[in-house]
Symmetry: C2
Subunit: 414 residues, 2 copies
């Protein structure tokens, strides 16, 4: 038996203990996590500096190194755990109660999913966020973090496991797969006898790898080619602020704006405003022919550009004839993450909402709100762009399944 | 481009039309289906007789031929469509409304999943049930029925497609993959660019094939190794009726009883009652050592028998020491479909309900109730035993996803 299979079996074996743990016990574990992380802060930061030093040696770029660092971030991590602790426990919640005509009492009751396999890269705070959500929702998890954060994650998971034990929960509730080898990930993806769900947080390449190799259900997500359509009726000053926010507030993330669609009637005066305002913030543009005629000097977009998630200060701009044209473009190029309309016309807003089938559809707001924390979920374990199980930000409830509980008086079927 | 890829692309292309169709239009399509099937009854039954004749020639067994036949079943099929028509339209339903502290208005809104791939065997009424649920929930589907029902399905799908067109919906809403070739199924399982969900209705072998080959999410289910535990406090006369019903009312289906667990205290007098009553109905038994000592003459169960879905008049009987012992056996051997306890002890009932993590958990009722029709869903598209997306009977609502709709006043994120 391989190491990975053993980890998966251990997780499955302890999962009923987590499933039956009381809210009090799970909250005690979260408290112990906070205490343990505080007590071990020095050791954690030491390991983190080791990872950073190695990352610099191996030539990782500044942005990657920044995501890796826990310096000045420990307080935020503890706050995340405290928030998850404050949230109501989803497990055991009873919903859709009914009494059938034959007097059978039927309810649905929320249960944990069981064992999660979470595969992610760089940011070590994900280790803590995911663990807090996993424990609170009565699940177990096998975490496979990025190889560049190995030392940090080893210390973090050691702290977590000690916290669980001190709260009377098994240390195997969270296990770390400390391997940079993709063959090991591949093996993990085939443990359908023990692992119930795979959550890959990372590149399109990682997700594709999971799609091709997993025999376990996978939550796809986190790839956002996001659009805003500026309707002819929009409030232009305010629209400009929203576009600026969606593009520049944090350009490296999945809910940042990628393509701006502008109604043809307003394009001649509105696009120059956008170029002026965002250009000052070092945004670079890729324009369709019509837009580039309005703003000569801006480079033409290649056909592939409409299918590119920029994750940087690049913005595609395209002139569309009308709302229907905008809808068609979004349907053809969106990854179904976050798309919005800016308009004062209520009928157009509702037509857009009905026609666009993305995880988050916006009317007069920045796409940057697609986020578990912003939506009141406390934290998020993933941002799903697929249609099964959960869509958009996934918090505690999205880490649950349900069972039907049927109570009778020795009922038989006719 | 292959034929299958073309079908999948066509389905994806028309899926927004289905998604935007009004309840009235979808109900008109369901009415037209009923009218069309009634008008074409003679042609349908002719094609069905052709399939039956071929099945007899190729030596299919009586049970299979019975499942294949539509003789005397057309009324039931029309009633199923009418029931689906009567159910409320799930699409567009708004739930979990909230106003965030920053005044953003957030709701979730129910949407169709998109394109379903349904793979099933024999029974041609599934073609109609699945199509009715698919249309009502705003989805499209590619159906791959059993090769032994090919002639029947060709006529049925022709009727359905004409009905859709008469209601102003595209004929491609339901397409039939008329192929007995598994390589074609394999190709279907890789159309993740166009198909959103695979529902295999059939053998464990078919489900395993889908698990290994699909790059599309799969709903696993319909394999039921079902248990009843008779507690020491049960009402024995009534318990016997429930056991009889669970085992003999329809032994060939997934929610029929497979293993009876009997509390040690009552085993000596209760097991002979079971053997006496069910033996008269030609049930054959497989017993553990303790039970077989009580009823000598009954064959001993092999270790594999506890992991066998009988689908016939065979019943495993095992003596357990207590409730915890029963729970351990069920956890080790259940497929998570339907498991129950028969008891007058409320604390034991609640402990059982908490500890057993199956799609349907029963207290004092027959396992035979795990069924969409019985649970008020009108019909069912599958009976899920996995934990993602939907568990247990799946009706209209389980064929939906949701999107977040966020309405603001040009909100930006801080």
């Amino acid at each position: 038996m391989t190491n990975i299979q053993q980890m998966a079996m251990k997780a499955k074996a302890v999962s009923p203990i987590l499933a039956e743990a009381s809210s009090e016990q799970k909250n005690r574990a979260l408290e112990a996590m906070m205490t343990g992380l505080k007590d071990q802060e020095k050791r954690i930061l030491e390991a983190n500096r080791e990872d950073i030093a190695l990352a610099k040696t191996s030539g990782l770029n500044e942005a990657m190194i920044d995501r890796l660092s826990l310096q000045n971030r420990m307080d935020g991590i503890l706050t995340d755990i405290e928030q998850v602790k404050q949230l109501p426990d989803p497990i055991g919640e009873v919903f859709e109660q009914q009494t059938l005509p034959n007097q059978l009492q039927v309810v649905k009751c929320r249960t944990p999913i069981g064992v999660l396999g979470v595969i992610y890269e760089s940011r070590p705070n994900v280790t803590i966020d995911v663990s807090a959500l996993t424990i609170k929702s009565g699940n177990c998890a096998i975490l496979r973090g990025g190889s560049e954060t190995l030392h940090t994650n080893l210390v973090l998971v050691d702290c977590l496991q000690k916290a669980f034990v001190s709260a009377g929960l098994p240390s195997e509730a969270i296990q770390l797969l400390a391997s940079a080898n993709r063959a090991h990930v591949q093996e993990m993806l085939r443990q359908h006898a023990y692992i119930d769900l795979i959550i890959p947080r990372g590149s399109a390449n990682l997700q594709e790898f999971c799609r091709e190799n997993s025999t376990i259900p996978v939550i796809f997500g986190g790839i956002g080619i996001c659009h805003l359509f500026v309707d002819a009726s929009a409030d232009f000053e305010k629209a400009l602020m929203v576009i600026d926010n969606a593009k520049t507030q944090r350009p490296t993330v999945c809910n940042a704006l990628d393509t701006l669609l502008v109604h043809g009637e307003i394009a001649p005066f509105f696009i120059p405003k956008v170029v002026d305002a965002l250009g000052k913030k070092e945004v670079r543009f890729r324009m369709d022919e019509k837009a580039s005629k309005i703003c000569s000097g801006c480079p033409l977009a290649g056909e592939k550009d409409w299918d590119t998630e920029w994750l940087s200060l690049v913005l595609g701009i395209k002139v569309v004839e009308n709302l229907r044209d905008a809808i068609d473009h979004i349907r053809a190029h969106s990854t179904g993450h976050s798309d919005g309309i800016l308009t004062e016309n209520k009928a157009n807003a509702e037509l857009f909402v009905k026609a666009i089938d993305s995880a988050a559809v916006y009317v007069n707001a920045s796409t940057r709100f697609t986020d578990g924390g912003q939506m009141g979920l406390g934290a998020e374990v993933a941002n799903s762009t697929q249609k099964l199980h959960a869509r958009g930000p996934m918090g505690l409830k999205e880490l649950t399944s349900y069972k039907w509980v049927i109570r009778g008086n020795y009922h038989v079927r006719n």
